[in-house]
């Protein structure tokens, strides 16, 4: 599952990184504050044949292109019945909501060097789509009438092999592409066969600008000791105690934030090799094998590096989620991406 297993760092380097990240105040290798993101380049509306598109390039050279395509599709029979039920006047006001289906949104992630059925692309696509579908608003917007709906294909192309965990990159690029997505304006009414305005300038945005509603974004938050960091780089992930992917959306009514999905991500630090104390290395006959093992176990990663064991303390999870909602980082990102879209 881990994106890479050959971390080019020695146990001594890992131990150094871990100590500097878990000290207070934490010192990150590139001098960022815990809440700082790396610089990125973003542009939207780059693919003329897609309904919406975006490209984001991170400073470490990883780059993603997302194209959103929409197609008309005939709905299955069950929805026809539902609306017939609604026209009796029972649920008429409810017409516009509760009609969408999760399957109408399809996300595919293509990572170079990995097969389509590898765990990583599947995991990434599942994580992004559950965040997008969480509030049920996107899928309801794909409803046209009782017989037809839009099917939305979100195709993600990572242009470089993933150096760090590519989740924030994917999530931000998808966010930007969906902000940029427009669907042709509907001319027909009711349950007629859908007919659309052929003027692209009249197309309606999938996420209208006038209301504050945005697609959610997914942040990668890493915990080392008692500290939490946003947007961890490859070296930082190599010493992470735990990594969380948290998806946040902005509520339409107020400008407050809401967490729509949390997932733990397997940190690559669990695959690193542990260090051996100096007086226990081979050839030093001061201790027998059993004694050496006991001593290494008791050391608990204090003197030399040892891959982290166990999970994330519950108190730290509560603190991380509280900070994500309150420290303004998410609002900054959302506002910045809206500006990119123009």
């Amino acid at each position: 599952m881990a994106p890479y297993t050959n971390i080019p760092l020695s146990p001594a380097e890992l131990s150094y990184l871990h100590t500097s990240l878990s000290s207070t105040p934490a010192i990150r290798p590139d001098g960022r504050r815990p809440t700082d993101f790396r610089t990125l380049t973003a542009e939207s509306d780059i693919l003329p044949s897609a309904n919406g598109s975006a490209r984001i390039c991170f400073a470490d050279g990883t780059e993603a292109v997302v194209g959103v395509k929409a197609e008309i599709e005939k709905s299955s029979k069950s929805i026809v019945r539902h609306v017939a039920h609604g026209e009796d006047g029972q649920e008429h006001s409810d017409e516009s909501k509760g009609h969408g289906e999760d399957a109408w949104l399809q996300i595919s992630v293509d990572v170079p060097g990995l097969r389509d059925d590898d765990a990583l692309p599947v995991f990434l696509a599942a994580m992004v789509s559950e965040a997008l579908l969480a509030d049920g608003e996107l899928k309801n917007r794909l409803y046209i009438n009782s017989r037809f709906h839009w099917r939305l294909y979100v195709d993600v192309l990572l242009l470089s092999p993933p150096l760090s965990y590519p989740l924030p990159l994917l999530s931000l690029t998808i966010h930007l592409a969906l902000l940029n997505t427009r669907l042709p304006a509907l001319v027909s009414q009711g349950d007629e066969d859908p007919l659309f305005n052929d003027d692209w300038a009249a197309a309606t945005p999938l996420y209208p600008h006038h209301n504050n509603k945005n697609p959610p974004i997914t942040l990668l938050v890493m915990a080392v000791g008692g500290n939490a960091f946003y947007d961890p780089s490859r070296e930082e992930l190599a010493v992470a105690d735990a990594v969380l992917a948290i998806s946040v959306t902005r509520l339409q009514s107020s400008s407050s934030l809401q967490i729509v999905s949390i997932r733990t991500v397997d940190p690559p630090s669990r695959l690193t090799a542990s260090g051996v104390p100096k007086d226990l290395i081979a050839g030093n006959a001061s201790a027998n094998a059993m004694e050496a093992r006991v001593r290494r176990e008791k050391d608990e990663g204090m003197a030399v590096w040892r891959p982290p064991r166990g999970g994330l303390k519950r108190a730290l999870i509560a603190q991380i989620t509280k900070n994500v909602l309150s420290d303004g980082v998410v609002n900054d990102i959302l506002d910045a991406l809206v500006k990119v879209n123009g």
Partner: protein, 292 residues
């Protein structure tokens, strides 16, 4: 506890109820180094009897086998750690809709979740150059909704979206069963890990949190959360929370932990029995203190 009661219940009460409805057995597959069978019995339904003959709830049955630790093939590169690979597969007949023999995206996603949960508990650096396979076969899966709803047979409001909430219960079961099987295989772990689920149910009177939700019984399940909980360290190796949780993300996690602690009781007693049978020693009470 399968009926998904509100959380007004005290934990002690929950545990007692849970014990009666969960079946966990180890050592059912002699060819594997460790194995476990897990079953959630639906128990008597709490909803009013309906005219339909379609059962209103589904149960969960799964088996887990652990193969290894075994040496990696010669062609594999050196690994300083135990390489863990997990494989969750629904039997074709597990749910109402048939599953193919090739794993689909949902099954792969479950495997990834299970792997990240187990990798946190296994002390992997004690087995360099070796691998272990954890294989879970779901024999009977929790349905994602009451399937009569698809045909408008139920008198409740119709839904077309089931939201795949059944997967969450399956994952929690996988985690608990895998933990028991790992212990039987003799693989060192930092603690027993148990899975728990909590869900948020929306009704006309407001929202309420239920432990161990049964998707077919609740009209509108809007959010869910699975955790893999290490009780003696009070840590979480797995969190999977999704849905419109109305700012109750942490509340959901806390309640899922309550459900996991209830499952832990069953797990600990089974592990104790297994150990006693295997080594012929009388079980001591030390594990009881460790587990609370």
């Amino acid at each position: 506890m399968r009926s998904g009661r509100s959380v007004g219940l005290r934990t002690a009460h929950v545990r007692q109820l849970k014990l009666t409805s969960t079946v966990l057995k180890t050592g059912l597959t002699p060819s594997a180094s460790g194995s476990a069978y897990f079953e959630l019995d639906p128990g008597p339904s709490s909803s009013p009897p309906s005219a339909s003959t379609i059962p209103s709830r589904s149960s969960l049955k799964l088996t887990c086998t652990v193969h290894g630790p075994k040496p990696l093939p010669r062609s594999a590169p050196f690994s300083p750690q135990l390489i863990l690979s997990t494989n969750v597969k629904y039997a074709p007949f597990a749910a109402r809709q048939r599953r193919g023999f090739i794993r689909d995206a949902r099954e792969k996603d479950l495997s990834a979740h299970l792997e990240s949960a187990l990798r946190g508990v296994i002390i992997a650096d004690r087995w360099p150059k070796s691998g272990v396979d954890v294989v879970v076969t779901v024999l009977e899966a929790e349905e994602d909704g009451w399937w009569a709803d698809e045909f408008d047979l139920g008198q409740s409001t119709r839904r077309t979206n089931f939201g795949e909430w059944g997967m969450m219960t399956v994952l929690a079961g996988c985690i608990t069963a895998a933990s028991a099987a790992l212990v039987e295989a003799g693989i060192d772990c930092v603690d027993l890990v148990s899975g728990g689920v909590a869900g948020l149910v929306r009704s006309k009177s407001g929202t309420s949190v239920v432990l161990d939700p049964c998707p077919s019984e609740h009209e509108d399940l809007v959010a869910g959360c699975v955790v893999g909980h290490l009780a003696s360290r009070d840590e979480l190796v797995e969190i999977w929370s999704r849905g419109d949780n109305e700012d109750q993300a942490i509340t959901l996690v806390d309640h899922a932990v309550d459900a996991a602690i209830a499952a832990r009781g069953v797990l600990a007693s089974v592990v104790k029995e297994t150990t006693a049978l295997r080594f012929g020693v009388a079980s001591t009470d030390s594990e009881d203190t460790a587990m609370t």
